[in-house]
């Protein structure tokens, strides 16, 4: 068991968080293999977003452990967790609207993260190349000099994904990446995720079952802060408990 544990990229064990006695996440355990694409589904209020908050340090766990590549994340600060290799995309696109697309990506470039480092930071060819290549991946090559505030909702979502990619994280966490997107944007996002998932471990929250089926290696169904079911998409789709609380008859 222990020997096997070492192979997990992320091991969440006995994770509990209680807000004034209400357990949003209750004794939750799950494991992620390297390069795995895991989707978390579940009804509203199941604690899906809270799990991501706990992993990236936005919310502090009451109990339990989150081990990532041998490091215990529950004791680390947010920016240290980022440096350990965890990237998080929020549900509402959060990009820097007053900065251009280029500057948004540049700020996310993993260099010059201290005050002095940021003063000395030089926009060299390595940075420009990295930014341009990411911009190409996220379909924003033509918008590099536009303020991010002028982008469409979908483009902001892509930009935020790009801001994660440029950090070169080992684990990418995406909270409803296609929510609020047009059909065309949704298609392009699926394409983008397929590219990303080739060489990242990805943890996604999503409601669109079609989309989930397309990308997931394994699916974890959450309900009332606990794991209700886990396995392949076909396995959870047939699970009577999942049909009862989430998918419906």
């Amino acid at each position: 068991m222990n020997a096997q544990k070492e192979n997990f990229l992320l091991a969440v064990e006995g994770l509990t968080v209680s807000f004034d006695g209400f357990k949003a996440v209750d004794d939750l355990s799950f494991y992620l293999d390297p390069k795995e694409i895991r989707v978390i589904i579940g009804p509203n209020g199941a604690g899906k977003t809270t799990v991501l908050d706990l992993i990236c340090g936005k919310t502090r766990a009451t109990q339990g452990s989150i081990r990532f590549g041998g490091k215990e994340l529950t004791k680390m600060k947010e920016h240290q967790i980022v440096h350990a290799g965890v990237g998080r995309k929020f549900q509402n696109p959060s990009v820097f609207e007053d900065l251009t697309v280029f500057e948004n990506l540049e700020v996310s470039y993993p260099q010059g993260h201290t005050v002095m480092g940021a003063l000395a930071f030089k926009r060299d060819t390595a940075v420009i190349e990295a930014v341009e290549s990411i911009a190409d991946t996220i379909f924003l090559s033509d918008q590099l000099n536009e303020p991010a505030g002028l982008l469409s909702h979908g483009q902001k979502q892509w930009l935020e994904i790009g801001m994660l990619l440029i950090q070169k994280p080992d684990l990418l966490m995406l909270d409803e990446p296609v929510a609020g997107m047009s059909v065309a944007e949704r298609k392009k996002t699926a394409e983008l995720l397929r590219v990303i998932t080739r060489d990242h471990t990805v943890l996604v929250i999503e409601h669109d079952m079609q989309f989930v089926g397309d990308i997931a290696d394994r699916v974890t169904v959450m309900h009332q802060g606990k794991v209700l079911s886990e396995g392949s998409i076909d396995h959870v789709k047939k699970d009577p408990k999942v049909i009862e609380v989430y998918l419906g008859h």
């Binding site: 990236c56 936005k58 600060k77 947010e78 920016h79 980022v82 440096h83 990237g87 998080r88 929020f90 959060s94 990009v95 820097f96 609207e97 007053d98 900065l99 251009t100 280029f102 500057e103 948004n104 540049e106 700020v107 996310s108 993993p110 010059g112 993260h113 201290t114 005050v115 940021a118 003063l119 000395a120 930071f121 926009r123 590099l144 000099n145 935020e160 801001m163 950090q167």
Partner: protein, 390 residues
């Protein structure tokens, strides 16, 4: 396409704005004004240091401090303590019961110079203290607040409380600080009489020189990646945090920068005005500094300078004729700025005057070319760009 040589920069749009300000302060005003008025402009410019600091701290990084008077006052008091000690030679104070200590200490039955006054015998220590004392206090406040994620209006209220506390402390400790009268009767700086017209105009030019130095330091910070991170923090603090930055340390840095600038301004104030008192420390002067910054345009460094100059000039003009009306006028001004033109004069300039200047015969074409060239490369957002925030 960053401009590389200084000459290239001076002929760019931004460079021309700096040149115009330099022409105004170095050539036009000294030629037009008598020494008394020029000294007053020098006094206004000391507030510009605080306003420029607020542009960085409030405008760029979104941290509103209602306590810049504290740092201005600390810088001013450091300088005043040095000048007072110089003025309090045993010969000059031989009629006191304890000669050789500042007069107000003698009046308060203090018989020995307090320990914290001792280092201010040294001019080099004083010069360091003018910046270091405000920065140190800002560091303590900043670390205590920002590491605990205190921000926004709570931070503003706490800084205002600190301004009130420091004023009460200074007034209460009359024997150590000169109390409500402050530290007065300052005559010479290293034997040089600072009360003559010649000395006052020299100090004016020193003040202008240091102001430009400060502007260049801020401009450097703003154009570095650090400047973009400050703007990013103002927009989306959480995103900055989850992009791997320790947000608190950036806030502490910019707050300390603003405090250091205010401290320099305070020291220059003491030198040019000849005294320092708690009335430049408390809540009212602190809020006035925010008004200078808001009126000039809180996203624009040069806006901060013009804001300090204009509001102070208006204050002098108004107070000379209707002293009791000035507080109302300033209140109205602040409300007006917030409601009608939140980006201040810099914002107005950009919206109404910049389009007009393009129509000018020669200059218009010249500036036009400059503007066309700019957006081709992802140049760091200039004052003008960020001021366009709706």
């Amino acid at each position: 396409m960053k401009t590389n040589s200084p000459l290239q920069w001076l002929t760019s749009r931004e460079g021309i704005y700096y040149l115009l300000l330099a022409l105004l302060l170095v050539v036009a005003l000294p030629l037009l004004l008598d020494p008394f008025r020029l000294n007053m402009v020098g006094k206004y410019l000391t507030y510009a240091f605080a306003a420029v600091g607020l542009v960085m701290c409030w405008g760029k990084a979104g941290i509103l401090s209602l306590g810049q008077g504290v740092f201005f006052g600390l810088g001013g008091y450091c300088m005043a303590m040095f000048l007072k000690l110089e003025a309090s030679t045993p010969e000059a104070t031989k009629h006191q019961s304890t000669p050789g200590i500042p007069d107000f200490m003698d009046w308060n039955q203090i018989t020995e110079l307090p320990a914290f006054w001792q280092p201010f015998h040294s001019f080099s220590f004083t010069l360091i203290a003018v910046i270091a004392v405000p920065v140190l206090l800002a560091l303590i406040i900043g670390v205590a607040m920002f590491k605990r994620r205190v921000g926004g209006v709570y931070f503003a209220i706490i800084t205002q409380a600190i301004a009130a506390i420091l004023t009460i402390l200074i007034i209460g400790q009359q024997g150590l600080t000169g109390g409500v009268n402050g530290i007065t009767d300052l005559q010479t700086l290293m034997g040089w009489n600072i009360r003559t017209d010649a000395a006052k105009s020299t100090l004016y030019f020193v003040c202008v020189g240091l102001l430009f130095l400060s502007l260049f330091v801020c401009r450097h910070v703003q154009n570095a990646k650090l400047g973009r991170i400050l703007v990013a923090m103002r927009d989306q603090e959480t995103r900055v945090r989850f992009s791997g930055y320790d947000v608190a340390s950036f806030k502490v840095f910019v707050f300390c920068l603003a405090a250091g600038l205010a401290g320099i301004g305070g020291a220059l104030f003491t030198l040019q005005v000849g005294f320092m008192s708690p009335s430049f420390v408390g809540i009212v002067p602190s809020i006035e500094m925010v008004v200078f910054c808001a009126l000039g345009g809180r996203y624009s460094l040069l806006g901060g300078v013009y804001g300090a100059l204009l509001v102070n000039a208006a204050k002098s003009g108004f107070s000379e004729s209707f002293p009791e009306l000035w507080p109302y006028a300033m209140g109205a001004l602040f409300i007006g700025v917030v409601l009608a033109f939140p980006n201040g004069l810099a914002g107005l300039y950009e919206r109404y005057i910049m389009p007009l200047e393009k129509r000018l015969p020669v200059i218009g074409k010249y500036l036009d070319k400059d503007d066309d060239a700019a957006p081709q490369a992802p140049a760091p957002a200039s004052d003008q760009l960020s001021a366009e925030k709706p």
